[in-house]
Structures are given as structure tokens and as C-alpha cells.
Symmetry: C2
Subunit: 512 residues, 2 copies
């Protein structure tokens, strides 16, 4: 058995059975091993950012890592942007990067690069295998590290992949949460019971159905507000769940929301900071004088922590009905499309158990509020701010959950960074509907320029904001995805309804 087979077998034994791959020469033994050591399903992405973004979407929905196989330094570099998003989402990703044969590196062949330096920027664990005999142990360590919600990057020289070694069948280290920090929970309970307005800010797994149902019991017991972090990795939402607003993206609006609270308890949520450091806006969105406490964290099970907090507050075992969202009374809009109408149409038509991957940037402002009464669904958002997350993430989510409809609510500018993901959707016939907000502009940058006082960008700046000239129907069809165009709300409702009834991917260009 060669080192490449050992690698694939070790990953498979740890429960990893999907590999998003864009391999090259130095990964060919691993490609060969996919056929020799069966169980792993390799999925081709035509660009590395598709592979890493798909692994992020897969990991968020499957709750376990996918493997990613990339080619040398340049391949990893192309995948870093979406590994960055995955890192910010706490998604486990097992990244394997081929390296030149160990004896060949010293010749500095054309593709040689410092792969560890690249991997270190996004990985909780990153290392180069130093002999074929170490492949199994190193892979086990890497996978253990990534199961804790990190990126693990294993760099594997070509010659070790080919070397014959014996399998040790290293046992997987069980991953167990540590005990709940009772002191933190007691402090949180005391603060939440105190006078003045209080909020429980939810992040990570606290935003799943179970976490939300515990949080709403806490709200019923102490009267606190529930708030979600700005960009949840995965959030359940809709009828029968509490309507939890998200901290706004713009720091002034975030401060407007958060400053109302004397006390904030953060449950697996980071204390909010401004996305960018603007002039005359504080970096931290929490003000001096506001009391805060954090509960949870990577070593604790946030569901246990929330249960302990609920019990500490004497919460009932079922939340009162009036704290859960009922069905919405929205009406389908008509006429020429705008961001608000798109949000309403989508909120009304998205089916039960839909997975909505939202990277719509300026056009999604109204989406969250309108979905409080949607059929129960799961929302995945752009956690790390690195554009081009939507199409790959939707691809990976569809592979993790073949029985669920995926909808990628997507800005045109952001989609263009990783548009090759459409090909994988078409190749595998995935049930992904991509809704392109075609405003042909980096509108978010117009907003940012206006913050600098530039309300009328000059000719040079204007050239850098203008995306006009793309035909999304042709782009979609060019990658094999049946595509259509909608200019009015009625057309969108019709096209979306039809797309949702059909098997396989669809793309709708929503002309704004």
C-alpha cells in the first residue's frame, strides 16, 4: 500500500467521504488512490476557490469535514480566499496540498513556492509530512485538529505518496466537549436577571434550531432580547422559530441596535467589531459601561451551556407560542424589480427546508426581516467578507444535503470571482437555483466612496465600479446551467416557481 492510499484510507476511516479536488501532477498518486481505496467521492472544481468554498458549504451543512485536494503553492493560493471564509465560519476543512518530491525541492523547479507560509495564513494546523511513514499519523492529527472547527492543511510530497508503507490503523481520538463553565453561566444568569435591558447574542451552533429553541426559553424566562451575529455561518429561521434579528453590517446601525442594552451575553458569538476601521467610528461596537459576558467557546457544547443557562433562570421546558414566528402575511409584489421586491418574492417562495446561501451584498438588506415568517429554512452567509463565497458554498451545501433545495441569493460582482462553480452544479445535476442580482455595479463600493464624501465618483473611480457588459443567461448556459432572465417581480415569481419544480441547477438573472 502506498502513502497516497494510506492518506485516503485514513481520511475515510475518520468519516471523510467527499473530496473537492483540482489536482495536478504532484497529486496524481492520490487521484489514483481514489480508485484503489474506495469510499471517497472525488468532485472536480474547475478553480481551487470552488473546491474550498464547496468544502465550506459542505462542512457547515454536514457538520463534518470534506477533504480538499489542491496542487502545490499556486493551487493553495487560489483556494485561500474561501478557506478564509471557512475559517471565520469555524468550518472544519481537511486541506491536502501536494508538494514536489522531497529530493526535488532543492532544485527550485518552476512551480516551487513556500506552501507552509500560504497554509499558515488560514490554518489552525499546517504542516509538511517529513516521511512516508508519518503520513498516517500526520493525517490523523490534521483531521483531529480540523474536527475542532479549523482548517487543517497537510502538505504531502509526491515521492512519499508513492512510497510503500504499512498501515497502522491509528485510532481516531474521540472528540468530546469539556464541562460547562458554570461560573460563566451563573454570571450570565445574574446579569440577565438584573434591571435594565439585556440581550443574548447568539453565534455558531447557538443559531441552529435546537439552540434557538433554548434561547427563546431563556428570553421567556428573563425578558432579554435575542440577537444574532452579523454574518452567521449557519442559522435556522422561519415559522415556529423565534425571529432573531442580526446585528447590522454598518457600524452606526450596529451601535444603534447594541447601545440600547446595558447587558449583553455572548453565546458562541464574538464581541462585535466594525467590519472596517472608519474615521470617527469606534472599532469595538460595545461601549464602555456596557456589561458583557461570554458563554460557550470551542471546548464547550453551546447547547449544554444554553440549557444550563435556561435552567439557571428557571425557564419553562417549552417556550410560549407568542415568542415564535407565525406565517408571514406578505403579498407578492409587482412591477420592475428592486432589491426589496426580490427579497419578498424569495422569502415567500423558498420551499420548506431550503438552504439559502446569501451573498447578495447590497440587495439583501431586506431579506432577513422578510423571512421571519418564511417556511423553516437554513441560512448560510458570507462569514469572512471575502467575495466569491456564494456559488461554491451552495455547491457544497447541495452535496451535503441532496434532499434539500439550495438557493444561492447572489450579487453579480461577487459571483464573478468563483463563477466556475456553476459547472460543478451542472455536472452533478445539483438542485441549486442561483438568483443573480444583476445591478452591473460594485454598489457596495459606491456606498463606501460616499462615506468618504465622494458622492459623484470621478471618471477613473467610475471605471472601477462599473460591471456592465455581462450576459448572465449566456454565462450560466456556457457552464451548462439552464438560465433565464427576470425584469419584473411577476417574471421572477414565475421563473423561480418553475426552477424550484425542476431537477438540477437553474440560474435566473434578476435585472436591476
Amino acid at each position: 500500500m502506498n502513502g497516497a492510499e494510506i492518506l485516503v484510507r485514513t481520511a475515510f476511516r475518520s468519516g471523510i467521504d467527499v473530496c473537492f479536488a483540482n489536482p495536478g501532477t504532484t497529486e496524481m498518486p492520490i487521484v489514483e488512490a481514489f480508485d484503489k481505496a474506495p469510499g471517497m467521492r472525488p468532485i472536480l472544481g474547475l478553480f481551487e476557490g470552488v473546491c474550498t468554498g464547496a468544502a465550506d458549504g459542505y462542512g457547515r451543512m454536514a457538520g463534518k469535514p470534506a477533504m480538499v485536494l489542491l496542487h502545490l503553492g499556486p493551487g493553495l493560493a487560489n483556494g485561500i480566499s474561501n478557506l478564509h471564509n471557512a475559517r471565520r465560519a469555524g468550518t472544519p476543512v481537511f486541506t491536502v496540498v501536494g508538494e514536489h518530491a522531497a529530493w526535488h525541492r532543492g532544485f527550485d523547479p518552476p512551480l516551487a513556492m513556500d506552501i507552509e507560509a500560504l497554509g499558515g495564513t488560514v490554518s489552525g494546523w499546517c504542516g509538511t509530512v517529513s516521511s512516508a511513514r508519518e503520513i498516517e499519523a500526520d493525517a490523523s492529527h490534521a483531521i483531529h485538529a480540523c474536527r475542532q472547527g479549523q482548517i487543517a492543511t497537510l502538505i504531502l510530497p509526491y515521492d512519499y505518496q508513492l512510497e510503500e508503507v504499512s498501515e497502522k490503523n491509528i485510532e481516531e481520538i474521540p472528540l468530546e466537549y469539556g464541562p460547562v463553565d458554570r461560573d460563566a453561566v451563573d454570571l450570565a444568569a445574574r446579569l440577565l436577571r438584573s434591571r435594565g435591558s439585556t440581550a443574548l447574542v447568539l453565534g455558531g451552533r447557538a443559531l441552529g434550531r435546537e439552540g434557538l429553541m433554548k434561547a427563546v426559553r431563556i428570553k421567556a424566562a428573563c425578558g432579554c432580547d435575542l440577537i444574532a451575529e452579523t454574518f452567521p455561518a449557519r442559522m435556522d429561521r422561519g415559522v415556529g422559530l423565534p425571529d432573531v434579528p442580526r446585528i447590522p453590517y454598518l457600524p452606526e446601525m450596529a451601535i444603534g441596535m447594541l447601545s440600547r442594552y446595558r447587558t449583553l451575553v455572548f453565546a458562541d458569538a464574538r464581541k462585535p467589531v466594525s467590519f472596517f476601521g472608519y474615521r470617527n467610528v469606534p472599532g469595538s461596537l460595545i461601549e464602555t459601561g456596557q456589561e458583557t459576558v461570554s458563554i460557550g467557546g470551542v471546548t464547550q457544547d453551546i447547547l449544554e451551556v444554553l440549557e444550563a443557562l435556561a435552567e439557571g433562570l428557571g425557564a419553562l421546558s417549552h417556550p410560549p407560542r407568542e415568542l415564535l414566528a407565525g406565517p408571514s402575511d406578505l403579498a407578492l409584489p409587482t412591477g420592475k424589480l428592486d432589491g426589496e421586491k426580490i427579497c419578498i418574492v424569495l422569502a415567500m417562495l423558498q420551499p420548506e427546508r431550503a438552504i439559502v446561501v446569501e451573498e447578495a451584498i447590497t440587495n439583501s438588506i431586506f431579506y432577513h426581516p422578510f423571512t421571519a415568517g418564511s417556511k423553516p429554512f437554513t441560512l448560510l452567509t458570507l462569514t469572512g467578507g471575502s467575495l466569491g463565497q456564494g456559488p461554491p458554498c451552495a455547491t457544497g451545501a447541495a452535496i451535503a444535503c441532496p434532499g434539500r433545495q439550495v438557493i444561492n441569493f447572489q450579487a453579480d460582482g461577487a459571483a464573478l470571482y468563483t463563477i466556475q462553480a456553476l459547472w460543478t452544479q451542472a455536472k452533478l445535476g445539483l438542485n441549486v437555483v442561483t438568483l443573480i442580482c444583476s445591478n452591473r455595479s460594485y454598489d457596495i463600493l459606491r456606498l463606501e466612496l460616499s462615506r468618504l464624501g465622494v458622492l459623484q465618483p470621478g471618471p477613473a473611480a467610475s471605471k472601477l465600479l462599473d460591471l456592465s457588459g455581462t450576459d448572465w443567461v449566456k454565462i450560466g448556459e456556457g457552464f451548462g446551467v439552464p438560465s433565464a432572465k427576470a425584469e419584473t417581480a411577476e417574471e421572477l415569481a414565475r421563473e423561480l416557481s418553475q426552477a424550484l419544480q425542476e431537477e438540477g441547477p437553474r440560474l435566473i438573472e434578476m435585472v436591476l
Copy 2:
């Protein structure tokens, strides 16, 4: 005047007047400065790899750096792959990366990353500006470093861009070559005069028209063969120039060529090594017992060095006519397209002074030999092995040389990494004809698998080689480039002739 204006003015004063940009929030002051400090022409790329690849093509043809403007760590990461190719080409690129406001970094906002670690992997000079007052000096140093044929990466915090500072008008350090190393030239002359077969291996600027004309005088004087490095950054070729073969990509073939020589003189060319470290193939392609000497190098002007060598060998001032290529006697092929027919059609139809950007991988094997008698043209190749170099490089070359026809001879798989470059070509109406070799397969990897003894890839491996499902005419048109399809050599000749007559970009899918 703010720091951003200082930056743009400093770059412009150094002769940099084109900026390939994909900016974000942290670069908005620089975007604003493009209008306040005129002279710089900003050009939008829809993906960062387009910007860096275009800067590579621009730098190779313009002989001076372009500026590249990227957004934070993820933006730089997306650009690294083509910066790697530029580094291997010795192309000067002035990369500017925005960074969070210095006071904001400590909050670890979502987009924060270790930008210096990323930049260090490809840059000869990489640093973060530490105060607004240092912008001008740091930019000057960076530009000076990159004019020596390197990537220079300047990381510039947002708050410093906005800070008011005064301009020092730092004078540019003149870039001068050092003296020719006479000892090396004398040794080279002695070796070339000695008995046994000898070769002069040319790289870098030695492959330009002037260098080639000096090299052929050397050949006439001493009887040596002329050889070009495997992947030239820029090589002149065609009628009236010597026909210089390139060292083959496959190491066995390269050794077959090189082992014929007892003596090899390397003129601005690296000693050849195997592209990958295969089993039973040496890493160095030069054998023990072969005599070698290197002449030139970054501190010397290779044209002066070659002139000194020619004089040392008593070369005539004009090469004999029979050592220069005459017009080819190729005939246009007919029937269903294959790689060889494509190469012949292109070699025959490419116009005088064409710039051919070749990233055709497996389909370009016959191209170089067939172009010995083509009309004089310039060839740019994939220097660093990182795929997705062709379409951006062609874009940048067209911007550097608006009067010349650019032809991008391009593999389909490689094109898909940076296909967004087509949009910039369409937006600017660039005279680029993209010829897509549509074999719908990573054929180079089939070859690599066969080297491992896998002649019939299994079902898992096969999935990772199969690119079928793209429609290149739709993809081209989706990005705004008029596109056509050719299935026979006659159709290709007709479509290519027509495309070359028209203004603006064209794409031809060559179905294989």
C-alpha cells in the same frame, strides 16, 4: 494631499501609468486619488488573478512595471498564482494591497489576515507602511526593487491613505547595470571554441531580437548550437531571426537534447531542472561531466555580455544569411482539427508583429517548430507553471502594445481559472483573439497518470480529468466577446482570418 495621492503620484513619477485593480473598501482613498492625481489609468479586473496576470503581460511587453491594486489578504491571495508566474518571468510588478486601518487591526475584524506572509511568497520586496509619512519613501523603495525584475508588494493601511502628508518628491534612483563579468565571458569563449559539441542556452532578454542577432553571430563564429529555455517570458521569432529550439518540457526529451553537448553556456538562462521530480528521472537535466558556465545575471546587461562574447570569438558584425530563418513552406491543412493542424494554421496566419500568448499545454507541442518561418512575432509563455496565465497575460500585453495584434493560444482547462479576463478585453475593445483548444479534458494529467502506469484511469480518477459540459461560444459572449466555433482546419482558417481583420476581441472555440 493625502497618503493615497502621494502613493499614486510617486508611482506615476516613476513612469508607472497603468493600474490593474480590483479594489475594496480599504482601497477607496486610492481609487479616489486616481481622479485627484491624474496620469494613472485604472483598469478593472473582475478577479484578482486577472489583474496580476495582466500586469505580468503588460510588464513583459512594456518593459516597465504596472501597478496592481488589491483588497486585503483575500484579494492578494487570489492574485498570487499569477504573481508567481510573473516572478518566474522576472516581470516587474508593483503590487499595492490595502490593509485595515492600523488602529483597527487589533480588533481582528472579519477580513483580517497576515498579508505579509502571503506577499512574502512571491515578492522580492514586501512590507507594510508604518506611518503616512513613510508612504513616499516606501513606495520609492518598492518601485526601485521591482524595476530590477521583481514583484514588490506594498501593504498600505487605510488610515494612512487618508492622512494629510506633504510630498517630498523623492528622486528616483537610476537603475544601471554593473560592468560585464569579463572572466565569465572569457571562460565562455574558451569553452565555446573548444572541441566537442557546444550550445549557447538563451533566456530572459537574450531571447529578444537584439539578443538573438548577437547569439547567431556567436553561432557563426564558433559553430555552437542555440537553444532557448523551456518557457521563455518573451521570445522573438520568425523570418529573419535564427530558429532557436526550446528545451522540451518532458525531462526525458530534454535530456535527449542536452546530453548531446559537452559544453553549455547559459546566457541569462537558469540551468534546466525537471519540471517535476519523477521516479527514475534526475532532477537536474545537466549531467556530471558536462561543462557549464553562466554569463549575464540581474546586475549585467545581457546584450552587452553577448556583444562581449561575440567580440571575444571574433564574430562578424552581421550573421550569415543562411543562419536566419526564411519564410515557411507550410500548406494550410484540411479536415477535422487536431493539435498539429491548429499549430500550422496559426503559424501561417498570425500577422507580422503579433504577440502570441501561448498556454495551450498539450496542444502546442508542434507550435514552436512550425513558427520558425512565421512572420516575425513575439512569444510569451507560461513561465511558472501556474494555470490561468493566458487570458490575463494577453489582456495586459494588448494594453502595453495597442498597435499590435495579440493572439492567446489557449488550453480550455487552463483558461477556466481566470476566464473573467475576457470581460476586460471586451470592455476595453482590445485586439485579442483567444483560440480555445477545446478538448474538454485535463489531457496533461492523463499523460502524468500514464507515467505512473495508469493507462486506463478508474472511474474516480476519470471524473477528475473530464471537463466536458462547457460551451465556449456562450462563455465568450457572456463576457461580451464575439465568439465562434471551428471544427475543421478550413473553418479555423476562415474564422481566424476574419477575427484578425476586425477591431476588438474575438474568441474561437477550436473543437478537438
